[in-house]
Amino acid sequence: MNVTVSPAPIISPASSQSQKVGSAASCPVGMLTLFAGAILWLLCASLLGLTTSLNFHAPTLLAGHGYLSYGRVHAAQNAALLYGFGVPSALGLGLWLLCRLGRTTLAGPAIVFIGAIFWNTAVTLGVGAILCGGGTGFEGFEMPAWCAPILFLSYLMIGLCALLTFHQREPGPLYPSQWFVVGSLFWFPWIFSTAALLLLCVPARGVLQATTAWWYARNFDTVFLGFAGLASAFYFIPKILGRPLHSHYQAALAFWTLALFGSWGGMPDGAPLPSWIISLGVVGTVLMAVPILTVATNFYQTVREDLNTLDADPTLRFTYVGLFFWVIAGAQQIVGALPPVSVVTDFTWFGPAQKELFRYGFFAFTVFGAIYYIVPRLLDLDQSAWHPKLFKWHFYLTFFGVLISYISLLVAGIGQGILLANTGNSFVDVMRRTVLPVRSIITGDLLVALGTILFLINFASVLATACRRCCAERKESA
């Protein structure tokens, strides 16, 4: 590996304190649109998730309406979460980190704004189309064929601005967060175009569609979302604690091994494929232990003297809890890929449990943390603009919501797997016996949805404060 990190005294985020990037003067509308859209879509995904959970309580309730049937709402929820929340928040986070760490301003803010509008319009149309029966049938790549090019082009608009912002950075060493942001922004267009081409434009032959869809879904989660979330953690934890990151070498090791091994796998054992593909996937997934352990030790070494102050700051609290969930989700992925385990847990709720923890527990949490830090600074306000009570409730509701959903899904998954392994249990009997934990997911969904509503209110009140102040200043100058 061509890692050329110069040793220790590299810039730490703590040193770029006085820099004011993307203040009101440089028009942060693009980034704010990305974040606002992301939060609205997260709420939308939570509500769609509630609808799917409702199916396990009263399957006949929504039976008369095609657009509310389980399969469609499930696909729409996935699309809203991944494309409505995931991509825009990763982009907004990435753009801000590139500005801040490169000590520069955003290149082409107008293009970012237009791109964000196009992206959100495309997601709205796409999710609507999925509810009307236009989904592709591929998990993780649900957006209909006509929607994919719009998404791709609007991503390119924003991605290009990110690239220019990165290019015009002040010369100097790169901080790990910059690698992670660049990696995540670079990864998405490649996997997305591959999937769009091989699944929608020129559909691959037979089972190759399935391998492409699995490969895409794995890369989207582990590498794209993973890099974006870690970029945020690598910036905010050292920054707010005011101490340098323990080791840049370890960060580089984690970065390259995650890029290399995180992008392998995703195929269930026993899939109708040549077995080398599945084995290679298992090897890659197990080797994910390297980046997980490296990141975990690196952060532990960084924060070990501040363990009691980790709760002090909203950003810090969300970020370290998110990081903790990342380690658990990664460990579960590794254990679940081992053949003796996967034979039991494949095709059960075990997989969705891991995804829930990764997407909500890790990614959404790091994004929340980042938004609590970034948005006041974009608007020239300070941290106190956030309502502390709303923050507190947001944290506890989402934390316990995610935890309840995760544990219920995990229990349901393991139970299902063990019961199904015994051929004496009929399939429907197993489903009936494991429906109780599946039903309790609705509690978790409800808590997460409530938390997101509080977050949205808090976000709106910060925007309103900024608007009021802006108006007052204008009156004064008039």
Binding site: T4, G134, G137, L199, P203, G206, W264, P272, G351, F427
Partner: protein, 229 residues
């Protein structure tokens, strides 16, 4: 690692690794897959496998896609030593790449909230599909599947009752003078589900070897043990 171009080059290389391994190489190995012949089983001669999907079945696969059926149903049977798929008589052999040659889109699914459907066509008939879609609890007591009533139409019985009308027990029976008939979508979906059968024994998945016995050979069909559900 402080140079932008070097960072991009490294990312490109790692990405290319994954792309070559999981997109390009499978394409090279399986992209040219063609119809093949089944292996000889007893006195059954080799047959072309798989056969192309009938038009109505393809239309049905679009209904399957549109309603996200793959969210709860897989379409792949794992080998005998992996899981209990074959013991649950979801298939006689493991699924192979050849089985999906004519499917588009290929919806293998990732979760089983309902049973595997790779060989659903062998387990039921048209009426069975309709009843399961209209009221899943009718055939499988305790099913968690939601009903898909929007695929059916309740209409007034005309001069003659429709031959397609669903025969339903009291709990689902339509009001007097009305009948429930499947829409075009339900018909297509049924055609698709009934076309799902991976029954050709191929070179990669030969029939299970017959047990060697000293019994005198007969022409009688061996008694099949009833499979566990």
């Amino acid at each position: 690692m402080n140079s932008g171009p070097l960072l991009f080059l490294g990312l490109f290389a790692t990405m290319a690794c994954s792309w070559t391994g999981f997109v390009l190489a499978p394409q090279l190995q399986l992209g040219g897959l063609a119809q093949t012949n089944t292996v000889v089983v007893g006195d059954v001669l080799p047959q072309t496998y798989p056969l192309a999907q009938p038009g109505e079945a393809h239309a049905g696969s679009e209904v399957y896609r549109a309603n996200g059926c793959a969210a709860c149903h897989t379409e792949m049977v794992r080998p005998l030593d992996l899981g209990s798929d074959i013991q649950r008589s979801w298939g006689v052999r493991r699924s192979l790449a050849e089985d999906y040659l004519f499917a588009n889109p290929v919806m293998l699914g990732s979760q089983r909230i309902g049973p595997d459907l790779a060989n659903f066509g062998q387990r039921t008939d048209t009426n069975g599909v309709y009843l399961r879609l209209y009221d899943p609890g009718l055939i499988t007591h305790g099913s968690v599947m939601p009903p898909y009533r929007f695929l059916f139409e309740t209409r007034k019985i005309g001069f003659f009752p429709s031959p397609d009308a669903l025969v339903l027990p009291d709990r689902d029976a339509p009001p007097a003078g009305f009948e429930i008939i499947p829409t075009e979508k339900a018909r297509a979906l049924a055609a698709y589900l009934l076309s799902l059968r991976q029954d050709g024994y191929l070179f990669e998945a030969p029939p299970p070897p017959l047990a060697k016995t000293n019994a005198i050979a007969t022409n009688a069909v061996p008694a099949v043990k009833p499979a566990a559900k």
